[in-house]
């Protein structure tokens, strides 16, 4: 077979391969702590995420210093005392959408999803499995999930006078608009 013929035959393959990945660099993660003493919310709009619809692989990379709190003092404590973001600047999730083969990514629709993988926070990695949802619209996939994280599981020590102001379980909400990588 001539080289040009082979090249022409391979072009659609490469187009499909590159069309499998959806990414964002401005995903949103919010966490919320609720106690009788105080409710605390922080938001991060700089979340990197990539999702490969051909394998179900799903990756998140989060810069800890990008979390914004309503109060400057809370942000300082979060970075310096709890997350130690100078030493451990990122949190990551690397996993797979377990039911990705049952999702029709080429047509608009809403689907439930189960995601399983390794969540690394504060230098501690844990196996996690959570439910979420996908909304597919054209070249975009909106992925959402809400789950709880226990700071103690990730060796985040919260003591002293603020112990009663921070929940033992923090609610984490993930909302990413993934766009097809061209």
């Amino acid at each position: 077979m001539k080289k040009t013929t082979l090249l022409i035959l391979l072009i659609p393959f490469f187009q499909i391969a590159s069309a499998q990945k959806y990414v964002t660099k401005n995903g949103h993660i919010k966490f919320y702590s609720e106690t009788p003493m105080e409710n605390i919310e922080a938001n991060n709009n700089q979340v990197n995420s990539a999702f490969d619809i051909s394998t179900g692989d799903f990756v998140f990379k989060v810069l800890i210093k990008s979390f914004e709190f309503p109060k400057a003092l809370m942000q300082e404590h979060f970075n310096e005392n709890y997350m130690e973001s100078d030493k451990i600047p990122t949190a990551t999730f690397t996993g797979t959408v377990l039911n990705f083969e049952g999702i029709d990514f080429l047509n608009d629709g809403t689907y439930d999803a189960m995601v399983k993988g390794k969540l690394s926070i504060h230098g501690v990695t844990k196996e996690v499995e959570h439910a979420g949802s996908f909304v597919i619209k054209g070249d975009a996939i909106n992925a959402k999930a809400v789950f709880n994280v226990k700071p103690a599981d990730y060796n985040i020590k919260i003591g002293g006078s603020v112990a009663d102001k921070i929940a033992k379980e923090i609610e984490v909400s993930v909302d990413v608009n993934l766009i097809k990588l061209k």
Partner: protein
């Protein structure tokens, strides 16, 4: 002075102490990022090269600091309420890789209204390198030297 006067003065002092602690410690405002002095000035490409060469050392040096970067952005992205100057120096699993500067809302609004970056550098708070981009946030213009 009567004893009651001492008690009133003591209560007032304690109340003032609590008020000051609440206002200037607990309720301390976020800094005005536009007015903060830059800790470092360098080209966007140099900043990216430093992080990709030695992430650990660069993180310790730059993370949490105000940085002024020079150079011409590859493009301006607008995503929802965010306006981002993007310097592209590489290609990877997330597509373009480089330095991403997210502007303060008011500055982003000016850019969307047509304000030019020509003759200006970009100053922002470095939140780190995520193995894809060096991220600067709360960015504003800084007159080029």
């Amino acid at each position: 002075m009567k004893r009651i006067h001492y008690i009133v003065i003591f209560i007032l002092l304690v109340a003032t102490g609590f008020f000051l602690a609440y206002e200037f410690v607990y309720n301390k405002k976020h800094p005005d990022f536009k007015e903060l002095e830059a800790n470092y000035k360098l080209s966007a490409e140099q900043l990216y090269t430093e992080f990709t060469s030695d992430n650990e050392a660069s993180s310790l040096k730059y993370n949490g600091k105000m940085i002024v970067v020079s150079g011409t952005p590859t493009r301006i992205d607008i995503e929802d309420t965010l306006t981002i100057a993007v310097f592209v120096f590489n290609e990877g699993m997330f597509g373009d890789e480089g330095v991403r500067c997210t502007f303060l809302t008011s500055v982003g609004h000016d850019i969307q209204e047509g304000a030019s970056l020509k003759g200006f550098d970009i100053k922002g708070y470095c939140s780190g390198y995520n193995d894809v981009d060096v991220v600067l946030e709360k960015c504003s213009f800084e007159k080029s030297n």
